[in-house]
Amino acid sequence: MMIRFLTFLMALLLATAASAQEPLRLELTDGVIEPLPFALPGFHAEDAGAEELATDISRVVAQDLTGTGLFRQIPRSAFISTPDSFTGSIAFADWRAINAQALVIGEVAASGGRLTVKFRVYDVFSGAEMGEGLQFSGTPQGWRRMAHKVADAVYSRITGEEGYFDSRVVYVAETGPKDNRAKRLAVMDYDGANVQYLTDSSAIVLAPRFSPNGDRVLYTSYESGFPRIYVLEVSTVGRQQLTTQPGDMAFSPRFGRDGQQVIYSLSQGGNTDIWRTDLRTGQHTRLTNAPSIETAPSFSPDGTRIVFESDRSGQQQLYVMSANGGEARRISFGEGRYGAPVWSPRGDLIAFTKQNAGRFHIGVMRTDGSEERLLTASFLDEGPTWAPNGRVIMFSRETRGAGGTSSLFSVDITGRNLKQVPTPTGASDPSWGPLQR
């Protein structure tokens, strides 16, 4: 009896001691959403010949980061101190005092025709480096790409997702009035720099689409008088027509995941269906067979499904079917017309164009059609394309009137950070390529 009583008292004592050490458990649900302030003292130049490049690279890295809308650069005038060298110690207290949450330092060296850029990223309030320092080497002519790569690494280390700065966009460059517009294919950096033209303006070109590794471009051309699909090698600008089944029109092509499958729309006798062609074997497969118009197909990232638009219900809506065809399931049910669906590289969302009540929207929805959100609204927004990391959508926006022009815009998938992408001419039909390796 006494033993049991003592055991009970000991248990009581232990419970009391345990309750004294019980942690305080809380849940925080309200924070703030604002760009993360970062400091980027100009990259050091190891030698006099690298000073200008160091300045330019620092500027592009900062532009890349601030251009996402996720970061805010702290002006130099607020700095209390600057690092003496790339390898020197960091006075974190000085950076904490100006509320810098991330610090990017770097160094640039240019000698022997080679350009070397190295950098480090610090978490100021932890006083620790985020990842390890990295170094890129290349030719001085490729300094912008190296700056984009530095920005990609910084972005990835802070946000935890892949960047998209070292990527290119192929689009249709437009010049001339609306009723006599010259169109040619052009490729540029994601930020509008380094524009290069891939075709002349002798024939109307439409809807260029990058291959998964960015080496080729599919597009539709009217040079034969009828729309036909061509495959263009970006490096050589050589091209050849895609062989399809006989038909009146072939258009709206897009690559599959392996770069060897092409899906497109083929019009035969007034009816348009979706076909697939294997570039290696030349085999053609009909994926839909309906009296309605099926077009704008897009593969899922894993290549197992296809989303496309169809008016089989009497109005243009989005459908998903197996990559081998078969029964399609409608996923869009909102008011208005849906078109130009594009599957996200992450596979979780589908971007689309929506026309409703006289306005055009760029929107996204889950792959089952749920959680539809409209990101933009304008007189004419169309042709969405995903950044390689699935975080940003680029599209073309056309303004009203006979003098209206088309230009490229980008928007974060949260609906924030809508901004125009600078191009030297009018631009439409963008297709965002992969990260360059």
Partner: protein, 371 residues
């Protein structure tokens, strides 16, 4: 922790010693009340039950196997102590359902309709709370101007088709001029997405930083002495006595400043608010925004986070990579906001240090996801 533990240990040790020694625990025989009972046989008891039980339908149930027990003559019932079986109650006359009772005649007063608004009774205004000694006059929140509304009114859209009075010239075959200088007309396409992330945290709302403490409960009226009750002559009512004791001796209210007392909700809310100001998910990946992480850490008595103790002890909703990102953001928030008050650490009641010495804080971004 150590002070509370030692005090608790010493107290319990003293309790053990007291119980072992048994000082003052000698018991005395209690006054027992004896009640006379009578014994009845089993058959008599069953007979009593049958007499009082309703006539339930009898179901045929398979008889269980009877054990082989030699029959034993039950003892004869004691006729003197046999229970009296109550008589079967007389059936109640059920009213005829086809002739329901006539409803009582009711005089429906005619409603008086007037056009005048009835005068409202004069309601005394609620007594204003006493002015707080901790808070000044709080500013009323001012609505923040929306960033999504265009500062200038947008011109109405043009009609769909207009017939121009002037005949437009046909286009020529001459090559078109470059239109790189063409201005982009955005007037009819107001941007619906905000160009900048502007949160309420950037604009002071003027709301009080600390919520008012609820007013103290008014003191209960003193119990009125019984006018005619005679404590000695009246029979003791334990329920009434318990109620009287409760009224006379209200439970002691928790007093602020008690060492080891429960951390108040206001202190917890204030702590969360301090951290929330620095919990910036503006640069979080979409995966991290769908991930809830729980972070454990220890704090010094000065209210500062022990940086070496911060660790993630769990997450849900995302991948490991998403959780790592979310944890990094949470860790930055913890370390950053303790410096908001000139490095003085978080504002927490130092006398309840044991309550917040070790913290497990879950960062849940669900409310801040815009989609």
């Amino acid at each position: 922790m150590s002070a509370g533990l030692y005090i608790s240990g010493a107290g319990h040790a003293a309790l053990i010693l007291w119980l072992l020694a048994g000082w003052g625990l000698e018991s005395e025989p209690l006054d027992m009340q004896v009640t006379e009972v009578s014994m009845i046989s089993g058959d008599a008891f069953e007979a009593m039950l049958r007499a009082g039980a309703p006539d339930a339908p009898v179901e045929e149930v398979a008889a269980p196997p009877q054990p082989d027990i030699a029959p034993e003559e039950p003892p004869a019932p004691d006729e003197e102590n046999a229970p009296q079986v109550p008589e079967t109650p007389a059936p109640v006359d059920v009213p005829d359902p086809e002739t329901p009772p006539a409803p009582p005649e009711m005089d429906t007063p005619e409603a008086e309709v007037t056009d005048t608004v009835p005068e409202l009774p004069q309601v005394l205004p609620a007594p204003a709370p006493p002015p707080s000694t901790e808070l000044g006059e709080s500013q009323r929140p001012v609505p923040r101007p929306s960033e999504r509304i265009a500062p200038e009114p947008v011109a109405p859209p043009e009609p769909d088709a207009q017939v121009d009075d002037q005949v437009a010239e046909a286009t020529s075959d001459a090559p078109a001029e470059e239109t790189s200088e063409t201005e982009v007309d955005q007037s009819t396409a107001p941007e619906e997405a905000a160009p900048e992330i502007v949160t309420e945290a950037e604009t002071p709302a003027g709301a009080p930083e600390v919520s008012l403490r609820p007013q103290a409960r008014p003191s209960r009226p003193a119990p009125q002495p019984a006018e005619t009750a005679d404590a000695e002559s009246a029979p003791a009512d334990p329920v009434a006595e318990a109620l009287a004791e409760t009224v006379a001796d209200p439970a002691p209210q928790p007093t602020a400043g008690i060492v080891g007392g429960e951390l108040s909700d206001a202190a917890k809310t204030g702590f969360l608010r301090q951290i929330g100001r620095c919990w910036n998910v503006g640069s979080a990946s979409t995966g991290a925004m769908r991930t809830k992480v729980t972070v454990a850490f220890s704090m010094t008595q000065e209210g500062r986070v022990d940086g070496g103790s911060v660790r993630m002890i769990g997450f849900e909703g995302g991948s490991q990579s998403d959780a790592d990102t979310a944890y990094g953001i949470a860790r930055r928030a913890l370390l950053r906001c303790q410096n908001e008050t000139d490095g003085a650490g978080y504002d927490l009641p130092s006398d309840k240090y044991e309550q917040w010495r070790n913290v497990e804080l879950t960062f849940n971004p669900e409310n801040m996801r815009s989609w």
